[in-house]
Symmetry: C2
Subunit: 199 residues, 2 copies
């Protein structure tokens, strides 16, 4: 019967509506504002019908995560295809990754669990700047022959922090990588940046 098809198509449509509504709410008011009742409001149903399409709220987040990975993969593939040299391909893919993170900020957040609460943290909590100060002093000392500007020191600081924080996030979020690999990444990263400081 064709009517079965039509109904299935409608069902698939509301499934997508639920995902779209979720993303819309998150884009407007952030992840913490996402609730089943608000989703229901947007799709003009009541909350319980959502459970006919997703077994719970977590399943919605998971589906958005999958959506994110699909878009990311597509973007990275197309970036790769624009080059032939492996080095260029790598750069293009990572830049695509970077752009995806900000173009689809909300998806990236649910994919990798970055929350955005603490933007003005340093203003209300001076202690949060101590690590920055400690490290920057040493970086400046290390660069002192060149009399670096504060911005140049910042560049090095953020590179360091990115590597370490990135490694930590990844090791916390994913299944733990082998210790040897992690330690090697850590050491080579640190010494690599230190070496690069006086380039």
């Amino acid at each position: 019967m064709a009517s079965k098809d039509r109904i299935l198509r409608l069902k698939e449509e509301t499934r997508i509506n639920i995902l779209d509504a979720s993303l819309q709410i998150v884009k407007e008011d952030g992840w913490q504002a996402l609730s089943m009742r608000k989703i229901a409001d947007v799709i003009e149903y009541t909350a319980p019908i959502i459970y006919e399409y997703f077994s719970n709220k977590e399943a919605i987040l998971l589906e958005l995560t999958r959506k994110g990975f699909l878009i990311l993969a597509r973007d990275m593939k197309s970036a790769k295809e624009k080059h032939r040299l492996p080095a260029k391909q790598l750069e293009a893919m990572w830049l695509a990754y970077w752009h995806f993170a900000f173009a689809e900020k909300e998806l990236y957040q649910v994919m990798f669990g970055v929350d955005v609460n603490c933007c003005e943290l340093c203003e209300i909590m001076p202690e949060a700047e101590v690590p920055y100060t400690l490290i920057s002093e040493v970086i400046e000392e290390l660069m002192s022959p060149k009399k670096p500007t504060e911005d140049e020191v910042s560049v090095k600081y953020y590179t360091f922090w990115s590597v370490i924080h990135g490694l930590i996030s990844i090791n916390m979020v994913r299944r733990p990588t082998s210790d040897e690999i992690t330690q090697e990444v850590l050491k080579t990263a640190i010494s690599g940046i230190i070496r690069s400081i006086n380039d």
Copy 2:
């Protein structure tokens, strides 16, 4: 009156009890399990008295964040003092940072907003492995003269990912750094790692 002092001391004590109880709950069942009523249970009071010590739940998280930064600063300082060469000091401080993140995992999480939900994500969602595959293939090609093992490719992959993901996290969580700095960090990081691939 000395009794005033005693009472103030008791008040300070329950303040600390609240923070300790919070951390205990989080260590046992994760951040998402932390609730005012559960804190009250642990300190053997009812929920509303917590508001005599903290204006709301967010304030408790903020205080734990501060606690984290204090410990981190202490650890980094003492690591620095163990060395005289700036390069050694840097390495020691970042290793201290690293160790802090795992020794005080819960504090690090509330400080930088890393959530830990998706440990087995790759098992239940194959799409999550596509970016890894894409990049690894190119890295392997780039290293091909050396016939690298899968572990060696992983090292490079995770270094890349750490840098990019770390930069993204930082740019999302903190007030936005100037675009020029960010772009320079990105480019130098990427080309640095690419260069290092055939060391």
